[in-house]
């Protein structure tokens, strides 16, 4: 499978990150990633976009929003006077809220990562076995690394 089989690399890599690919497709993507710097770059971009989207805010209404709506004297003649008095404050509050949303968009929460400890152990001993004694380095991973035993 290549990007041409399933569509654009972005779509394929998105499916890859979502775990939607079969083992065969996943292997093909990993081969492509190992061979192609552009695919690796796209993978990074897809991850970054996801992290940015994940950081988007979910606005919560104030706790007393319903009480305030019910109290609002809509259509009352004196309301125009109140609106004139509170007008500048409303604009300021609106501006602050808009600024908060902009800040939240501009500073996305970074994507959390979890190191794959078994894979890192395999990577380390494999590298060590090339310039240290291979039997002594590789024997400890001759059985799969297990945790919590």
């Amino acid at each position: 499978m290549t990007g041409r089989d399933r569509g654009l690399p972005e779509d394929v890599l998105s499916a890859y990150l979502d775990g939607e690919l079969s083992a065969h497709e996943r292997a093909a993507v990993e081969r492509e990633l190992a061979a192609s710097p552009s695919w690796s770059a796209i993978l990074r971009e897809v991850r970054e976009v996801r992290a940015a989207v994940r950081g988007l805010p979910v606005p919560e209404p104030p706790e007393d929003v319903f009480e305030r709506v019910l109290r609002e004297p809509v259509g009352v003649a004196s309301g125009s006077t109140r609106r004139r008095v509170l007008g500048p404050w409303r604009w300021a509050a609106g501006g602050a809220a808009a600024a908060a949303v902009v800040v939240a968009f501009a500073v996305p929460s970074p994507h959390r990562v979890t190191p794959s400890v078994p894979n890192q152990v395999d990577s380390h001993v494999t590298r060590a076995s090339l310039t240290q004694d291979p039997i002594m380095e590789l024997a400890p991973v001759g059985q799969p690394v297990r945790f919590g035993h």
Binding site: P110, R112, T114, P118, M136, G142, H149
Partner: protein
Amino acid sequence: MIARRAAPAACVLVAAAAITAMVVASVAAVKAWAAGPGPGGGRGEQLVDAAERAVREYAFSGVVAVEWYESGRKKTERVPVHDDDGMLQLGTTTRVMTDGERTLVRESDGWTVLWGGHVATGQRPSPEAKYDLNVTGRVLVAGREATVVEAREERTGALRERLYFDDATNLMLRREQIGSGGRVDRAVGFVTLTAPTTIATRRAASPHPTHVAQPKPVTEVGSAYRAPRTVGRGYHLVDAYEQPGGGVQLYYSDGLFTMSVFEQRGPLDESALPRGGRDETIGGRRVRVYETPGVDTIVWGANDVAYSCVTDAPRPDLVAALDALPAARGRGALGSLAHFVLAPFSWD
């Protein structure tokens, strides 16, 4: 007055320097004599080098016992090892296979290439820069005559490792890491070994891989990462790699022990780490420690980077190495303000 007082001080300094130079020269001469003649260091280092060559020269079969401690409890695992004309296979159902060029590991859905022959590697530093390697005797290991070499840290005299080399072939038969109080903290050694035979024609590792996960060597790491040239007590950066899943691997060695520091950009998600580790504070930082056969893995997060250190280094070396790497810092006033403002907008 000042000039008259300075003159004797200068004389004392010169004399002290001369004496120091003589002592250093004498120590170096004694060490050179004790190490013995020949290229590549003394007898101990020559045996270490010869053992690495012997693996590529002999075919053999045997069982290796791996011993380690987990939360203070001793564990042992037996691993069949078979060298079929240069193709080394390890594990009951052959989990790892290498021909010296390509290394593959068996996973649930097939073989994964962890290393390909075209990836260049840096040289192992000489262990004699840090350790005194001395032949201390001969014993039987797996029924075979073996020479014992002890590695003592030059600076402190502490015994760090005991190595056993087959007299007939130079194969390393056993490796013991010595901890505080002289306890064998970790050991890997043959318990049975058939008579090794010389390899006539080398075989290549044959499985057809379903995955490729080999690292890519790099000469620079991204600005988010730190790559100290040395860490701890004499661990030199040998190689740096970009990992297939993202992040970098920095490979360090002091000649006997090794250490890989993995760095991955993003805050550490501790909740998703595998079970079985324990939380510890090492060098003032909170870390998760996993004790597995052969190596320990230490995981922590700092400055929006997740760090892991995979190593067989003795604990004092590990503690010193972590000092060279970033630790989590407090947010500070501005960071706290930013967190206060932005926290309601975050899902994390």
